[in-house]
């Protein structure tokens, strides 16, 4: 499913897209560059693709590229190529956005704007767009772009922060110095170490992972550096430590803050000398290891407190530390992340077998599985099972505080589909047996027991999380906050202003007051209605 912005001076393109290609989410129509900018700013990076008309019959003041005193002929020409001027703006401000110009290449005038474009937009094959051609074009673009968003189990997404992180890790992976991965629990540090850093390190040895939070303190040194028989009570044989096992490979030490002070000293020695000595042994063994460490603690504070060695801390290369964002900071990518997590989950036996059962029961045959987040019911396609998360389910996911981050999200997503598929496996087929709806109730029940903080899901109207951007004035910030809250309440109460008044003012009789404020905030009932399931 793609998030598509339609930039067109006419209404019909958007209407027909919604009707004939409902598997995507649409915004707009933006009738001018100004409107397009506003929608893109509000969307905050969620838009995947733009459908852009070329000819815009709009008032002069809304046109780009109008010169003072322009003749009628000049204005007509500007209108006829307005889409190209908008394309130029899109290229400059949103270079990663895919643009489909709704015309054939041959149909455009010889225009320097197109010739100069480094990255040509996509064109339709025919001057006159039709649903079939557009659907194929959109699918082709989306598939190509999705390929860049994830790498095996790692979901990079499209956000700038993750792009920069990826670039930084690419460089650090190749070097000989340790890599420090910081970030809250469940953000994918071990995944990155295993599936990104190690493969790019160019090393031929193994990837060895040690979670130091699971190793008893008294066994830590032996675990990491090895031991010989009799080195300590209970040591009945020689043991190869993690460092030796990772020789010429990568050693990942998770929860590095758990290292005992003694083990810290030994680790420092190994890093300085490049040799390990097993406990109870005298023989030095050379080890060449790419070290990756991870923690969700503030190691610098630990150094100040005296519980982590300063010299070891400096050896770990903290200046080049990489911090993974929490899932709450990657909110806008939840839809994509959902698709990614479910793609992984559906490869595992539990869901894979259940899906087979659903297909068998409903006579669906073999084929793909597609995930639709917040969109309309997709068109039936032979063999395709659609996992549909209606908008209300997505809203629940978006408003949840993911204290367990990616790990928690992946589990909730997998469980949600498990329950939804289980329902389908036991009920008779209906109109659309190919659509597996992950109902809001399933999501709500899972979220109620998920997370690390009790009651992390706010009750309706009692509190929500808002996402704000810096603005010029505090008044605008406050308004943006209020607008999101009103929007949330309206959706929660399905347009019932009296219900909203009860939450806001403690009295349903104040519905009119609430509605007036709703209008003052610039909210539109029509736009919100489209988000209701």
């Amino acid at each position: 499913m793609a998030d598509i912005l339609v930039i067109d001076d006419q209404d019909r393109t958007l209407e027909l897209c919604r009707r004939s290609i409902p598997e995507h989410r649409y915004r707009g129509p933006a009738r001018s560059w100004k409107e397009a900018q506003q929608i893109l700013a509000r969307a905050r990076g969620r838009v995947d693709l733009v459908l852009l008309d070329v000819h815009f019959d709009i008032p002069t003041e809304d046109l780009l590229g109008v010169e003072d005193g322009a003749s009628k002929r000049s204005l007509d020409r500007t209108k006829a190529r307005q889409g190209l001027l908008i394309l130029q703006e899109l290229r400059s401000r949103y270079p990663s956005l895919a643009v489909v110009l709704m015309t054939a290449r041959e149909d455009l005038p010889d225009d320097q704007l197109i010739d100069d474009a480094e990255d040509l937009p996509y064109f339709l094959d025919d001057e006159f767009v039709d649903a079939r051609a557009l659907r194929v074009q959109i699918a082709r673009i989306v598939d190509a772009r999705r390929g860049q968003e994830s790498e095996g189990p790692i979901f990079w997404g499209r956000g700038l922060a993750m792009r920069r992180l990826r670039q930084r890790l690419e460089v650090l992976a190749r070097g000989g110095l340790p890599v420090v991965l910081l970030g809250p629990t469940g953000t994918g540090k071990s995944l990155l170490a295993r599936h990104y850093v190690h493969p790019r390190s160019g090393r031929t040895g193994q990837f060895v992972s040690v979670d130091l939070s699971t190793v008893p303190q008294e066994l830590m040194a032996s675990h990491l550096f090895g031991s010989v028989r009799g080195a300590y009570t209970g040591s009945i044989s020689d043991r190869t430590g993690a460092f030796e096992a990772a020789h010429q490979g990568t050693l990942f030490l998770d929860e590095i803050g758990n290292l005992s002070l003694d083990a810290q000293k030994m680790l420092l020695s190994v890093l300085q000398e490049g040799v390990v000595t097993r406990l109870g042994d005298t023989k030095e063994r050379t080890v060449d290891v790419k070290l990756v460490v991870a923690t969700n603690e503030d190691l610098a504070s630990r150094v100040r407190q005296g519980t982590f060695r300063a010299d070891l801390y400096m050896r770990l290369n903290p200046a080049a530390a990489v911090t993974l964002p929490s899932l709450d900071e990657r909110q806008i990518e939840l839809d994509r992340l959902l698709e990614h997590c479910l793609a992984q989950a559906l490869r595992r036996p539990a869901l894979r077998d259940l899906l087979k059962e659903v297909r068998r029961r409903h006579g669906l045959g073999d084929g793909d599985v597609r995930v639709y987040a917040g969109a309309g019911v997709p068109e039936a396609q032979a063999g395709v099972v659609s996992l549909l998360f209606p908008e209300r389910s997505m809203r629940l996911l978006r408003s949840h505080h993911w204290s367990g981050n990616l790990r928690e999200f992946a589990m909730v997503a997998e469980n949600a589909v498990l329950f939804a598929l289980s329902e389908m496996a036991t009920v008779p087929g209906g109109d659309r047996a190919d659509v597996v709806q992950v109902r809001p109730k399933i999501v709500r029940d899972l979220l109620a027991h998920s997370g690390l903080e009790p009651g992390s899901d706010p009750a309706p109207g009692a509190g929500i999380r808002v996402v704000l951007e810096p603005a010029d004035t505090l008044n605008k910030v406050a308004q943006a906050c209020e607008r999101q809250y009103f929007e949330h309440l309206w959706l929660e109460h399905r347009g019932d202003f009296a219900g909203m008044a009860q939450i806001l003012l403690g009295d349903r009789e104040h519905a009119r007051k609430v509605q007036l404020r709703f209008n003052q905030l610039g909210l539109k009932v029509r736009a919100l209605k489209e988000r209701l399931t």
């Binding site: 006419q10 019909r12 000819h55 020409r77 006159f128 039709d130 649903a131």
Partner: protein
Amino acid sequence: MPALNDLDADELDAAAALAGRLKHDLGKYVAFGARWLDDAATAEQRKSALRDDLLQTRRGPDGTHDALAVWAPYRDALCDELGLAEEPLVQTLVHAMQSLASVIDDLRRDALPADRVDPSLALARQVSDACRDLHRRVRALENDRG
């Protein structure tokens, strides 16, 4: 009566701009919904597409305009200002739009017989194709003349 070949450079330039706008304003939208119908479209869906295409050919902030309203200024420009009433493609357009006038009238009164829907859809496609062909012809002439 002049034909396209007889137009001078300025007139040809004007004709090209006009044909481009006509292709976009009428050609694209007079069969817009029809092109989006899939093979399994029901009779009701085909009629609905026809209704949208002919009665709401262009719909935007400046209001809703049916196909005749969209066509009228172009007809005047092509036939009267540029004098191209005898140009075959223009004649095709004029005749097709005259036929569509009665369809539009019937659609407004919800009185279009079921057996006229598909022929009307085909006629609208004919208008669309003629707009495209006219534009291509003018562009080809421009290119030939360099």
